[in-house]
């Protein structure tokens, strides 16, 4: 039988380098792919992705695998960059990484790879997937999970009324599982991926911790073994988010107002730059630290409070819109949710209101920002999530 052809997204970092290496060892027919995403054109400057591309290619060459560059600049600009700018304009704090996974890596890349002859794709995400290719995942042994996988989509819900055609064409939807490394788990960024895409996906490093990954990369003499993890939003690169956005939106300075007293405390250079809970970068004098507790985009006003325990910073009810379920809509009940990448899981009761989700958190949580995502888990399984309204 011909080997399974896997196209692995290689960013030039240690995670995807090791992912590619492991796939080769596992006997797959591996092709490395560098995804060229949109980057701001800075005249006279060396393009920021050149070194990453070179590193990715260098690793691919050492592994003796094919290497390709897929150009997603246009799609990335439309789906990720423009989305981010639009969200900021609406006064929200978007998460472009989630959009990048949903629209680029697990849509454009998956489709392009399959069209190019791949059977599956792989990435260096810290996550695990259960599908017909991933055999043993010792860390996850719950019977429920196994049953879910065997029965295909719908198994995780009680709906159970799918039409037979759909079930047949869509057998064994992949199940997304949290990575072994709690500290690195990236399922928060992956919750908008479809179960169908996951049937064609491998996450080779999800069962290892970051230190293990570095060690394994070092043992394999991968040149990227000691490379620093990338920080921040990839396409913004060396310029900060502030400078980046100022190229796209008209900035108007406005007032920073004390929420309690209504007193103007200072000026800001554009309300879009401010995020709920933010403490630093507020140009207000005085000894006390202030926190952003709200803003009014129409009035271009930012509201602050010096009280860390200000009511608007702590919430126990969260409403989510644009809800996405990886497999099927879960039942009403008790689940765990993650409010930010790397934030600890917190218990929550889930109910529905039309298409939206209502979460009642077991304990109030600080700073739940509109535009950010809340991801819902059933133990190890990442069910999906939605965007805070």
């Amino acid at each position: 039988m011909a080997k399974t052809k896997v196209y692995v997204g290689m960013s030039g970092g240690v995670d995807s380098s090791l992912a590619a290496s492991l796939l080769v060892e596992q006997g797959y027919d591996v092709t490395g792919v560098y995804m060229k995403n949109w980057s701001q054109d800075l005249p006279g400057m060396k393009c920021p992705w050149a070194d990453d591309l070179a590193d990715a290619k260098r690793v691919a060459v050492r592994l003796g695998i094919d290497f390709k560059v897929f150009d997603f600049e246009k799609g990335y600009k439309q789906k990720v960059v423009d989305y981010m700018i639009d969200e900021y304009k609406l006064g929200r704090t978007p998460n472009p990484d989630i959009m990048c996974n949903q629209e680029v890596k697990f849509k454009l890349f998956l489709d392009a790879a399959l069209a190019d002859g791949a059977d599956m794709i792989a990435t260096g995400h810290y996550a695990m997937v259960l599908n017909e290719k991933t055999e043993k995942l010792q860390s996850v042994s719950s019977e429920r999970l196994r049953a879910a996988f065997d029965k295909g989509p719908g198994a995780l819900s009680n709906s159970g009324c799918r039409c037979p055609e759909e079930a047949a064409s869509n057998l064994s939807a992949g199940v997304l599982l949290r990575a072994v490394d709690d500290n690195k788990d990236q399922t928060y960024f992956l919750y908008r991926v479809t179960g169908k895409a996951l049937t064609k996906t491998l996450f080779p490093i999800g069962e290892f911790t970051k230190p293990q990954v570095r060690k394994m990369a070092e043992n394999r003499n991968l040149v990227t073994a000691a490379k620093k993890d990338s920080q921040g939003i990839c396409f913004v690169g060396q310029v900060g988010i502030r400078e980046f956005l100022s190229g796209y939106v008209d900035l108007k300075s406005g007032d920073i107002i004390d929420k309690k007293t209504g007193k103007v405390l200072g000026r800001h250079d554009g309300a879009i730059f401010y995020t709920l809970g933010q403490r630093h970068g507020l140009d207000v004098g005085g000894g006390l630290p202030y926190y952003v507790v709200g803003k009014d985009m129409a009035k271009n006003e930012v509201y602050v409070a010096s009280d860390l325990n200000h009511d608007s910073l702590w919430l126990d009810n969260v409403d989510l819109a644009e809800v996405h379920w990886i497999n099927d809509k879960p039942q009403v009940g008790d689940y765990q949710v993650r409010l930010r990448h790397r934030a600890p899981l917190v218990n929550a009761q889930l109910t529905f209101s039309g298409n939206d989700v209502k979460l009642k958190l077991a304990d109030p949580q600080r700073v739940i920002t509109p535009g950010q995502s809340v991801v819902i888990y059933d133990d190890q399984i990442c069910l999906g999530g939605g965007i805070v309204i």
């Binding site: 006279g44 393009c47 070179a54 290619k57 260098r58 060459v61 050492r62």
Partner: protein, 384 residues
Amino acid sequence: MIKNFIYLDHAAATPVDRRVFDVMLPYFSGLFYNPSSPYFPAVQVRRDYDNAKKTLANLIGGKQDEIIITAGATESINLVFNSVSGHVVVSNIEHHAVLNCAKKCPHTIVLVDGRGIIQVEVIAAAITPKTQLISVALANNELGTIQPVRDIAEIVKKERMDRLKNGNKMPIYLHVDASQGVGQLNVNVARLGADLLTLNSGKIYGPKQVGLLWAASFVKLNPQIIGGGQERGIRSGTENVAGVIGFAKALELAVDHQSFEQKRLATLRDYMQNNLIKAFPEAVISGSQKNRLAGHLHISFPGIDGERLLFILEDRGVLVATGSACAANKGTKSHVLEAISISDEIANGSIRITLGCLSNEKNTRQACKIIISELKKEYERLRK
């Protein structure tokens, strides 16, 4: 990791010669004085600095006060272009420094021929009554092709005479960027017929970030870095004494060894070229083979990914370039290869080998063997 690389990229950077290093060393600590200070040890340093500049001037047939020390060729080129306001003429295979500077002036970019050689008539045709500067490289950094600088100088001279007759007061200068090829070609300014000449220490076994601009006495330069008035006020800043001492020694050695080194490198290069062509008859040599720097070999292997080959060879301890380093960074075809209209397949499959002082018979033969065996493997992999 292999420690002893075989270095085949002398056009990108060269190691500092031991003799250069030795003469520089005292100026980092014992003779650290500011050449502008009045006390005797500083005066001594000033004297050494001036002597080094004199050496540099003598080696190119110029005068000491016609030389501005810069931080390399890019700065020299910027200084040239910042000193003109009229129309400029450059070729389409010039270094990015020249092309990007030219684009800030009214400019004409002339096309080279398929061998990567500037056509003198094309330059002549591009000159207008408003042309103030013609800037060409003595040798191209990617292809190693040597340009007909003396013939271009004749055109400039003729134009100058015509302007004198016609009462056109616009001056016209010829700037020669001789960064590549110094150790292999004669760089006497009178012989070249240049009015401005750029040299780079980092390419001739001297320290990096040192270069010079020689300008004939009738050329008026605009100060580019304003400050304490060093380098005749054109380029202020405390002198890079050690760098200039090293640069002078490096140029001295380059000129001394020029004819010997030229023959030696040509022999090694020809060995490499012949063996590669014998093993891969479909390989393509780009650029004129007649007018080419002795250590230069730009060769393409159709169907091969040159960058992939670079990484394979790096893994086997052989360092080569693809096209030019700057072009490799952008992931697109280099402007030089574009200029000589070679196909994408040939461009993608190209590597640049530049031999130099680190090259000898033994490591050239060894490198040749490695390149051939890795290329065979790569062709084999592609067939599968």
